[in-house]
Symmetry: C2
Subunit: 225 residues, 2 copies
DNA sequence: ATTAAAACCTGACAAATATCATATTTTAAA
DNA sequence: TTTAAAATATGATATTTGTCAGGTTTTAAT
């Protein structure tokens, strides 16, 4: 099994603040998992016994609303950590994590992380900073949800996905979301999301090929009101 | 000036994890401020040179949206800390803080807090836990904003204010919000908030006396769809 | 106490969004 | 390959919410 000390992925998350010794120890007790597209990593309400370090792939974090609809709160990519929040406050998971494509993740047991959190102030501060950053992002999402139209939110998520997850050789998004996923990100009915994407297509803002989406006119997309 | 070691308020926030020595040191460099209803504690974009510990009063944290409307993200009360997030990630304030009634706050300079964050793992973990808790709350707000109707959100904020900030002898809310504030919490037009409050009144869910609001039928309010 | 400003309220209408129905296309299983 | 299921698409219509316009009441300053 590969070793944490040599893993590039950790450079993108709080694990970068661990010492070499700590990394070796974690490497010794981590387990690696392959997760197929559509599989659940963990479910809302589940007790998490550790954190997941995403080595490859993308997943969605969502929560079931009282009306029966899933709300996608965040998209998480290679390099990110999953489950630190629940671990820190010792609560069950508040969100479900589902793979959007095939993934490889490393599971690090709770005790290892908690141990380092208590003993390595640099690591602890790094986790704190990541959480502070997430908190600002969440606050911004609240404002967008409350104040912007569905069309605007959809335009923005398209730009977000383009900028954060990149595109392939033909400029199509690397992340494949269903129309229902798009609806669940912006918080609208699936039909509404489909309708607006069709409209964007007609207006030349995007083009599609099946589920694949490509931005054709970024500036116009940014101007959407 | 009163001393942090003897202040009851700190028991409700992360400062409770500081040692006696640390508290004495902080007490020596803190400044106390009285802030009148409506006054700004800090503004979005402002650089914060420390954190505010709320000794008395309530304030709103809000962010100006691109459409010119204010979105209230959080209501903050006696005992809470303001500004830790910005301090931890060394960013300017993401939200504005405005007093909803007369307040007393203590300002603690940045360096004191950062020093303790680096040297006292217990304090650092406590701040981390508070932030993890806030993050869950924010995620829940996102889901509510995205999936619930304005009427439901308004009913819920009434229940939230009742439960978190309490009522006076006549069962009226301790917090006085304008109709515009209510609109800015649930993310709707002021007229819509007014209309729905009127409807709640007609249906006997609440009663009002000027700005003062009292819940008359909690169960019916919880059932609002 | 008077008065101007702000806050509150309501109606009429417009715009945005949800819902339901149904057709078409794509996907995946047998 | 065939076929059933799922995803996508679009129209018609209902519901929710926003906007504008005009009132009344409350608040605060003189």
């Amino acid at each position: 099994m590969s070793k944490c000390e040599q893993c590039i992925v950790r450079k993108f998350n709080s694990l970068k603040s661990l010492t070499k010794d700590e990394l070796v120890r974690i490497s010794g007790c981590k387990t690696s998992k392959f997760i197929k597209k559509g599989e659940v990593i963990f479910d809302e309400g589940e007790t998490l016994n550790g954190v997941y370090c995403i080595k490859d792939g993308i997943c969605k974090l969502s929560k079931l609303s009282a009306n029966g609809r899933d709300q996608i709160v965040k998209l998480v990519i290679k390099g990110d950590l999953l489950g630190q929040r629940s671990l820190v406050v010792d609560e069950s998971a508040n969100l479900s994590a589902v793979a959007l494509n095939d993934m490889e993740v490393c599971f690090i047991p709770k005790q290892e992380i908690m141990n380092d959190l208590q003993k390595n102030p640099e690591f602890s501060l790094d986790v704190l900073q990541q959480m502070a950053y997430d908190l600002r992002e969440s606050d911004d999402v609240i404002v967008n949800m409350a104040q912007k139209s569905v069309k605007q939110r959809l335009a923005e998520i398209l730009i977000y996905i383009h900028d954060h997850f990149g595109v392939d050789a033909d400029n199509y998004f690397n992340v494949l979301l269903s129309r229902e996923d798009y609806a669940n990100v912006v918080g609208t009915a699936t039909e509404s999301a489909i309708r607006i994407l069709s409209q964007f297509k007609k207006e030349g803002l995007i083009s599609t090929s099946g589920k694949h989406i490509r931005i054709e006119d970024m500036e116009a997309l940014q101007r959407v009101e």
